[in-house]
């Protein structure tokens, strides 16, 4: 008997509040699903301690330490933002407890900053980039990438270049986060792309508001120069802008209508019932993390000793709303499917609806292992 304490740390306040809310909802739904509503594993009660990192690395760090030391959490899950995640990594090592990262995406979390207590259910930047590259990687395609001018953007482009084998990337445009006027950047891209032969794409890997999509739509690039837009998925409110780009292609992590499996069906049904809205990007992530935790505990029969848990989790496969995920032994990154989509404008939805073109199976996305053990 006894309890298993799980600390769930997210940016409940601050600019990422919306994301954090989804993670938390997803995580709680996930626990319910995985325990069949009992909230117990191997006779142990699961207790979730929610903590707010306010989107600040120092706060997150202190919160994690407090979770391990003061609240005696056995496992911690979170956080929302990559900088916070990176700051947290050494704390897990210090307290010799597991930190399951979800949904912070930075590659280095499971890369050079990794330590053996770190697992991640969320996809990393490379997976995103690789999937997007896979969606566009056809012979004859000419691509200009538009990305944030920061580590996130540059890493993503680097990964995209690695995974682009057949298409040609002719231009990289980096714009600062918080750019409000995309005219100049787009003008540079247009000048580069317009006289190229072949199918022309602007591949956008952009995080943060404002986004360049409205501007791209207003410029009629497709009609004028035959330039198409490609980008990854996002949360639903952000995909409203996609409505202007019927036919746009890209790859995404999760959209509630795409994966066909019982877990997702359960999630969509329950989420609708509770919130009168479909689950979103980070809801699925939160649920996956919860399922991973429960599966690991099942495997150790409720034993929360860190080394046992690590042993149990390495190589662990578990069913999530987006199908089977597997923690890769080497860097503890969950390998997972991604989805190549095409946007359809459907008046029934406020956002552009991504329709599945093909599942990009986890096996296809051979992300290099970047950590050193």
């Amino acid at each position: 008997a006894g309890e298993v304490k799980i600390a769930l740390i997210a940016s409940k306040t601050g600019p990422l509040e919306a994301y954090a809310k989804q993670t938390i909802v997803g995580f709680n739904l996930g626990l319910q699903y995985a325990t069949g509503g009992t909230m117990t594993v191997a006779g142990k009660k699961l207790v979730v301690i929610e903590k707010d990192d306010q989107g600040k690395p120092d706060v997150g760090k202190a919160a994690l330490a407090a979770a391990y030391a003061d609240d005696k959490a056995d496992i911690a899950v979170g956080p929302t933002a990559s900088p916070v995640g990176l700051a947290m990594l050494p704390v897990a090592e210090e307290y010799k407890k597991i930190l399951l990262v979800e949904p912070a995406v930075a590659d280095s979390i499971t890369g050079d900053k990794w330590n053996k207590y770190i697992f991640r259910t969320g996809r990393n930047s490379s997976q995103d980039a690789a999937a997007n590259a896979a969606a566009l990687d056809q012979p004859g395609n000419v691509i200009a990438v538009l990305a944030n001018d920061n580590a996130f953007g540059r890493d993503g482009v680097k990964a995209a270049k690695e995974f682009t084998k057949k298409a040609k990337i002719v231009h990289e445009e980096y714009l600062p986060v918080g750019t409000t006027d995309f005219t100049a950047g787009l003008q540079r891209i247009i000048d580069k792309l317009k006289d190229q032969p072949g199918k022309k794409y602007i591949s956008v890997a952009w995080s943060g508001a404002p986004t360049p999509f409205g501007k791209i739509a207003d410029l009629d690039l497709e009609k004028r120069f035959g330039i198409k837009l490609a980008t990854g998925g996002n949360i639903l409110p952000a995909m409203v802008a996609y409505k202007n780009f019927p036919g746009m292609e890209g790859a995404l992590y999760y959209y509630f209508g795409i994966p066909k499996n019982p877990v997702n069906e359960w999630l969509v049904a329950n989420h609708y019932r509770q919130f009168k809205a479909p689950p979103d990007f980070f809801t699925a992530g939160g649920m996956s993390a919860a399922i991973a935790v429960v599966e690991a505990l099942k495997k150790t029969a409720g034993d929360t000793t860190t080394n046992k848990l690590i042993a149990a989790m390495e190589g662990l496969s578990f069913e999530t709303p987006k199908g089977k995920m597997t923690f890769r032994k080497e860097d503890h990154q969950a390998m997972q499917d991604m989805y190549h989509f095409r946007i359809k404008s459907d008046p029934a939805f406020a956002w552009g609806v991504p329709e599945l073109v093909r599942v990009i199976p986890a096996a296809e996305l051979q992300i290099p292992i970047r950590n050193t053990r």
Partner: protein
Amino acid sequence: MLSRLLSHDLPRSRLLGWALVLIVLALVAAPFLFPGAKALAVAAKTLVFILLVASFDLLLGYTGIVSFAHTMFFGIGAYGVAVASTRLGPGWGSVLLGFAGALGISLALSMLIGLFSLRVKAIFYAMITLAVASAFMTLASQLSDITGGEDGLTFKNPLWISPAFEPFENPVLGLAVDGKVFAYYLILGVVALLFLLLLRIVNSPFGRVLQAIRENDFRAEAIGYRTVVYRTWSNVLSAAFATAAGALLALWLRYVGPDTTLSFEIMLDILLIVVIGGMGTMYGAVVGSVAFVLAQNYLQDLLKLGATALDGVPLLSQIVSPDRWLLWLGVLFVLSVYHFPTGIVGRLRAMALRLKA
């Protein structure tokens, strides 16, 4: 003796005196009195803020210069230690070298800003520093090879202030003493020393001239003080102390990032603490930092209690939700500016005067 130590700048209010004694005792005994990672973190943050705010008060309260670039120097100090520790590996050498480098940069930069822009009108100076600080933040995230960009830098401390250092087999006075406790006391010592030094500076002939400049810079010039020189000195000194505070914060967190040291939010916190505590009194920095850091860290917990009590009440429960803690911090913010026009210290001193009369 005590009076000399405090440069004859006594609290001048019995209540304030007791509050200060209490705060000092609590901070000295914090690791033993309030066990737990969070409590210690709060205490350490309070200490760093005391130094940071006191250094800012030298500028704002004593010299009357409104600057929004103070976090810049705070950040430089923190990054100095962090960059050196990541590049050269952990160790005292790196820490000292990093701090020395940061100090150099801070001094040069503050001198430059001072000489360039202290000639403009006060409001312009404030606005310019606002823009400079935001540009510096952009720069820090752009130079990601050195600074780690938005992700920041995580690094290791010299051995005996790193958490892995556990010199005693058994708990001392019920506390498992590790490197973090040593780090805490290191910070406490340095902050105490530098605070007394600041107190000395504001009570020196130099410090009195700063006040004169604050009151009427035109007149100060006319009796023979070169205000640009004094203001620049004030700028440089306060930058130096802020750099030290930054270095201490870095040592405590073993992490730096733009949000932790450079953000405008921290600048606002500093401003608010100065005003709540009482401008132009070093003790205001102490009282204000304690009040503010406590509120910042425990308000959310407090609201949790309120929210459970009000669970179910439609709009109200939304408003007292712990996720809306910023709302309440904002309200406190406004109310304290309202109700403590001269700060807590000013209030207490006025009360003491009235009692005497």
